[in-house]
């Protein structure tokens, strides 16, 4: 990975994009390192797609500066930028064959026909579509179209590849296998991937780093584990994974100071009410309210003094206990202090 002093692949400096009164992107600053798999995660309307379109050149910033590999791209049209996009609905050209779609960028740049053909065959092989050259996009499945869109973008050897929810239209199984494949392709070609998604699982599993967007602002940037284990704000804690958000009495009781805290449900351990409490952990007694069996895990809702906590437990073989902990049972909960994460309030 590039060092701190290397030129970032993409750099946003105080970038805003307004549509009328709406600030789709509101004073955003961040860098994406060369060769990084960077995700922009957020709910719809959070500004992540607008950021992607700003990099592609389909939108221009209302204020601020965007650099791609150190070059200011203000006023540079999309067709002169060294970035390519994989569109959400693929946007394959329906009147062209798969091969012609893949070769489009090369055809525009007047690459000779023989070379075009050779490179597109290579690309189709990379995305496991060899032999599909002459097909029409309408004859392909959703997953195959997705791969054509990827090949069509990658064949131009862009320095940055933008992906706009590329797996959104696929079913769950296919999505999971495409996640692995995308990640593998990214390692193979070594191109910077900027990946927009509203699926936190996707962002956590694929990214080197991710940015969490909310209301046009970035709430947090970091590695998946940083963002998951140390959410900076109430919004991040709630959007990325499940969380117990504490404030008021319960926050002070467990966190030690007034404020707002987040605790991941799988970080809480359930013990019997008379269990001994180890040193350096927070503890609270409660009563089991409901238990939901989820297969690999179970979700236990526990009423505690002035509140309620959700706990996720692994259903391990010979595991103590879920059987014993029926609704109504008294329990003692312990949480290591490092897992009680102070968070700032979000809008």
């Amino acid at each position: 990975m590039a060092g701190a002093e290397a030129t970032p692949a993409v750099s946003f400096q105080e970038v805003s994009r307004r549509f009328g009164d709406v600030r789709a992107v509101d004073n955003v600053t961040f860098d994406i390192a060369d060769g990084e798999f960077f995700s922009m995660l957020g709910p719809s309307g959070s500004g992540k797609t607008t950021c992607l379109r700003l990099i592609a050149g389909f939108e221009q910033p209302s204020s601020g500066h965007i650099k791609v590999h150190g070059v200011n791209v203000e006023g540079v049209p999309p067709y002169e930028r060294d970035v390519n996009t994989v569109f959400q609905d693929y946007a394959l050209f329906p009147h062209m064959s798969v091969g012609e779609n893949v070769e489009y960028g090369l055809m525009i740049r007047k690459v000779p026909k023989a070379e075009r053909r050779q490179r597109s065959e290579e690309m189709l092989k990379l995305v496991k579509l060899d032999g599909m050259y002459a097909r029409k996009p309408s004859q392909l499945s959703g997953g195959q179209r997705q791969r054509v869109a990827l090949a069509r973008a990658l064949i131009n050897r862009p320095r940055v590849l933008l992906l706009d929810e590329p797996l959104g239209a696929l079913d769950l199984k296919l999505r999971e296998s495409m996640q692995n494949e995308l990640k593998a392709i990214q390692r193979q070609v070594g191109i910077t991937f900027v990946y927009v998604t509203h699926d936190q699982g996707e962002a956590l599993s694929m990214s080197d780093r991710l940015a969490v967007f909310n209301h046009g602002r970035i709430e947090q940037i970091g590695s998946p584990s940083e963002v998951y284990d140390h959410p900076a704000s109430q919004f991040v804690a709630g959007f990325v994974g499940q969380t117990n958000l504490l404030d008021g009495y319960l926050a002070q009781r467990l966190g030690g100071f007034p404020g707002m805290y987040a605790i991941r449900p799988e970080r809480i351990r359930i013990l019997t009410p008379d269990a001994e409490v180890p040193m350096g952990v927070a503890t609270i007694d409660g009563r089991v309210d409901t238990i939901t069996y989820l297969g690999a895990t179970s979700r236990v809702e526990i009423n505690v003094e002035e509140g309620r906590l959700t706990v996720i437990e692994q259903n391990l073989e010979g595991g103590t206990a879920v059987a014993e902990r029926r609704p109504g049972a008294n329990v003692r909960l312990i949480i290591e202090r490092r897992h009680i994460q102070p968070v700032s309030e979000s809008q």
Binding site: P78, Y79, A91, N156
Partner: protein, 269 residues
């Protein structure tokens, strides 16, 4: 969905009757083109001849009317292809103040009775003191030709993914390259269908033509005036046969071109 229910014989007879009612007059017109009787239409024809075809093509007035009709239809159609496509693209691609109004105004000439368009154009031409010429005819015909092209192209655009244009730009194509390699191929059959329909509409238009022609006569106007004085009647029928051929072929072609794509091939006229 097709139903597998067989139609009863009475329905078949009724359908056949309807078809005959619509198409027998066409056959009679064709038949009279071969009649030796030149003063009036008598059935059955007293004798068969093909001499009227030769006579028709020798007559200077027929040639002039035919030439004018083709010229006006060609120019009006070309104009409509450019303006109609541009208007459709604007209405499809962007939202702007007055978009709905413009869209309505474009369709109006074909929704309004031709006589209104005709009178309006006639008074405008009069007020502006423009002399009648091919161009006043082109102007009149373009009003409804544009609608046909506009409707066809807009219908196609509406089924076209807007992201295609962005995808093309993203892959390095500038505006002209995107137009050439992505936009035009996607609307090509709609343009062809719209253009042929526009040509056919212009070629047999009477009402607007009457108001914008002045002393000139296009083929339909010539036929109308020819019916009034009974001299070499079958010549009119020969010309009618020609018009049927000229308008029939493009309409059938347009039908086949847009058949698979569920386009609005025609429009309300």
């Amino acid at each position: 969905m097709r139903s597998n229910v067989k139609a009863g014989w009475s329905l078949k007879v009724a359908a056949l009757g309807g078809m005959l009612f619509l198409h027998i007059p066409l056959l009679i017109i064709i038949l009279y083109a071969f009649s030796i009787e030149e003063k009036s239409f008598v059935f059955p024809i007293p004798g068969f001849t093909t001499k009227w075809f030769a006579v028709a093509f020798e007559r200077e007035d027929v040639r002039r009317a035919l030439g004018l009709s083709i010229k006006v239809a060609a120019i009006a159609t070309s104009l409509a292809l450019v303006l109609g496509t541009l208007a459709a693209a604007a209405v499809w691609r962007s939202r702007f103040f007055g978009r709905e109004a413009i869209s309505l105004l474009l369709i109006l000439p074909i929704a309004l009775p031709g006589i209104i368009t005709g009178i309006a154009l006639r008074s405008a031409i009069g007020i502006a003191e423009i002399p009648f010429s091919t161009w006043t005819l082109v102007l009149g015909h373009a009003t409804f030709c544009i609608v046909v092209v506009y409707n066809n192209v807009l219908a196609r655009f509406r089924r076209t993914n807007r992201a295609l244009i962005e995808a093309s730009m993203d892959l390095g194509a500038n505006g002209f390259q995107t137009l050439r390699y992505v936009v035009l191929p996607n609307i090509a059959t709609a343009l062809l269908a719209g253009g042929m329909l526009a040509f056919a509409l212009s070629f047999d238009e009477v009402i607007v033509t009457t108001f914008t022609a002045g002393q000139q006569s296009t083929l339909p106007i010539w036929m109308l005036s020819e019916l009034i004085r009974p001299r070499q009647r079958p010549v009119t029928n020969v010309v009618a046969v020609f018009v049927i051929a000229v308008t029939f072929v493009p309409i059938v072609l347009a039908f086949y071109l847009t058949r698979d794509t569920h386009d609005v091939a025609g429009s309300v006229k």
